[in-house]
């Protein structure tokens, strides 16, 4: 398990990049430049980054409606992402996908997904494919607490388990579905307990502690690559923003949000880097500054990019 300073700083950088991307995304949304529902990942950065830090470009992820974080963590480019949010022709999907469908199969990002639990079977299939092709690729399947009440969750976990597929199922338990509290909607306290149904490891981790996630998912990825089959990892976390941008959040109170803001993963990791890893605050400041620049450039790129040509509407229905 690589815990070199470089690796740790790379993780910090990715988390921060996600945060800044979302800050900008919200701004763009509020400027009326983003359409449709947009779900931001603010506060959950440690999960995507901790998990994906165990993967390389050949590995796969499937993502969700709240997908920006997964995409960045797996190596997605913020300029193409921003352009996609703005529906521009230079975006990841030529402006045809938007926030909920950003994908980059070349680096294993098998797509955000607008259907809750819609990606879980796909992740199993990517794992099946890796296994049949005899590679050591692994797949991480991201999904929320709410998604664990979908039938698709159950079917995919059973299938992955019986075939020992190299898939790590990472549940982001952020306490709510859209507005439905996990407490009311889930018949178990810990999603991880559902691993029992598939006779696979079920592990709870602190989803706001990137190293905790990194390690647990690392174990699971290793197991997966070695033919040991799937795992279910539940990362307890919280979304600091509403379900979608503009959510009045009538279903939760401010104290709860405040309480979680204190456990916010980026500051926490920064503190750890400085306090325990002997990393210079200035190095971090430098990273932050570069990221600010990168994001600024990405937004500029997006804004200056043209809308797709009308002909694009007819393309890509079929491959020929």
């Amino acid at each position: 398990m690589d815990k070199s300073k470089d690796k740790l700083l790379e993780m910090y950088e990715k988390m921060k990049k996600i945060r800044l991307f979302e800050d900008n995304a919200i701004k763009l949304f509020n400027q009326g430049l983003v359409r449709g529902p947009m779900h931001v990942y603010t506060g959950e950065e440690a999960v995507a980054v901790g998990a994906c830090s165990n993967l390389n470009d050949a590995d796969y992820i499937t993502s969700t409606h709240r997908g920006h974080g997964h995409c960045i963590a797996k190596g997605g480019k913020v300029d193409k992402m921003a352009a996609e949010l703005l529906g521009r022709g230079t975006g990841y999907c030529k402006g045809k996908g938007g926030s909920m469908h950003i994908a980059d199969p070349e680096i294993g990002i098998l797509g955000a997904n607008g259907i809750v639990a819609g990606g879980m079977g796909i992740a199993a299939g990517a794992g099946l494919s890796a296994k049949m092709r005899g590679t050591d690729q692994a797949a991480i399947c991201f999904f929320g607490d709410g998604a664990t009440n979908e039938g698709a969750f159950h079917e995919a976990l059973n299938m992955a388990a019986i075939w020992d597929l190299p898939v790590v199922f990472v549940c982001e338990n952020n306490l709510y579905g859209l507005t439905g509290p996990a407490e009311e909607m889930l018949s178990v306290k810990d999603v991880a307990a559902r691993a029992t149904s598939y006779d696979i490891p079920g592990v709870v981790v602190d989803g706001n502690d990137v190293l905790d996630v990194y390690e647990a998912v690392g174990e699971a990825v290793k197991r997966a690559r070695q033919g040991g089959g799937p795992s279910l990892i539940e990362a307890k976390t919280y979304r600091l923003k509403g379900h979608f941008v503009g959510d009045p959040c009538v279903y939760r109170d401010d104290e709860e949000v405040e309480m979680w803001r204190k456990k916010e993963p980026i500051k926490r990791f920064k503190k750890h880097l400085i306090d325990n890893e002997g990393i210079d605050e200035e190095i971090i400041a430098e990273i932050d500054k570069n990221l600010e620049k990168e994001l600024k450039a990405a937004v500029k790129f997006a804004k200056e990019s043209p809308d797709p040509e009308i002909e694009v509407v007819f393309e890509d229905v079929f491959s020929d």
Binding site: R35, G95, K96, G97, E150, E184, P308, V313, F314
Partner: protein, 328 residues
């Protein structure tokens, strides 16, 4: 008369029917505190409590399945399926179970189940949140299919749906919740299977509903003014049961048919209406080829420019009216 939105009209229907019959209740995702993703059930939790305004887990198959189980054992559920695209995860319970149960059981059950859902484009919700899938349900015997446009129709039809002893797919349109119109204070219902002639005309028959109805009316007005074409605009209100008679009569008079819907053209309800005309006696009065104004045969794209291009609009409908009348 007072003017209210479709959203409020739907809510009034629900309130009146819940007050009228204690077995009526609402279940669905995020319908309680949040009031539903488009706000139709806002405030109802406070009024009726969480038993009758029942938030469900994100489990659409169990949502429809349990609503069905409740419907055949004495309750009258209104199940809200957040987006019509999500019928895809509940299709078995809608199509194989709810629609067929009465028939398979030889008439032994009533199935008083309303499935409220919404579809269509216009908000950049992209391919998995913008579909218009009414044609799927129209093709399934045992389901009634309702698609209102105006607040008046929305309210009257939803009340009828709730009182109906059969499964009803009640399909709203996300952009149409804010449509405004007159709705009387007095109670009324609107029967299923009776089309509404929204505008009389003599030169061409235009069938339109839901989000496209106001666009159709606008196109009709414009063509009257600009080209002197008199367009009869008919809203079927319900696709099942379907009022063939009114449309056949109209086309027999005008000899020309334009149909518009947001759903992609191939296999949309426009095809069925066209076939009904082509096989009816109206055939003998036809003066021009059919014009269909429908969604492009592509998944709904996200970008405003592309989505707008992919959706029918007033201009497209006006063009079709002209084409149907051989006006260049």
């Amino acid at each position: 008369m007072r003017t209210i939105t479709v959203k409020d009209a739907l809510q009034e229907a629900i309130i009146e029917e819940m007050d009228r019959d204690e077995n009526v209740f609402v279940m669905g995702e995020d319908i309680a505190e949040h009031g539903g993703i488009y706000g139709v059930t806002q405030g109802l939790l406070e009024k009726y409590g969480k038993e009758r305004i029942r938030n469900t887990p994100i489990s659409e198959s169990a949502l429809i399945g349990s609503a069905l189980g409740a419907a055949i054992t004495g309750m009258r559920p209104i199940a809200e399926l957040m987006y019509i695209d999500f019928t895809a995860v509940a299709m078995d319970q809608i199509v194989n179970q709810a629609a067929k149960m009465r028939y398979m059981f030889g008439g032994k059950v009533d199935v008083p189940l309303v499935i409220r859902t919404q579809g269509g484009g216009g908000r950049g919700s992209a391919a998995q949140h913008s579909q218009s899938l009414e044609a799927w349900f129209m093709h399934v015997p045992g389901l009634k299919v309702v698609m209102p446009s105006t607040p008046y129709d929305a309210k009257g039809l939803l009340k009828t749906a709730i009182r109906d002893d059969n499964p009803v797919m009640f399909i709203e349109q996300k952009m149409a919740y804010s449509f405004k119109g007159e709705v009387p204070e007095e109670e009324y219902t609107i029967p299923f299977g009776k089309a509404d002639i929204k505008r009389e005309g003599t030169d061409v028959t235009l069938v339109a509903n839901s989000y496209l109805l106001p666009r159709a009316l606008e196109a009709a007005e414009r063509m009257e003014k600009e080209e002197g074409i008199s367009t009869e605009v008919i809203d079927p209100l319900t696709l099942v049961p379907f009022d063939e008679e009114t449309i056949i009569k109209s086309v027999s008079k005008t000899g020309r048919l334009v149909v518009t819907h947001e759903a992609v053209k191939r296999g949309g309800f426009g095809a069925e209406i066209a076939a009904k005309i082509y096989e009816s006696d109206a055939f003998y009065y036809l003066d021009a080829p059919l014009q269909r104004v429908a969604g492009l045969e592509v998944p709904t794209p996200y970008s405003a420019k592309l989505e707008n291009f992919a959706m029918p609009d007033t201009d497209n409908i006006a063009d079709a009216i002209k084409k149907a009348c051989y006006v260049k």
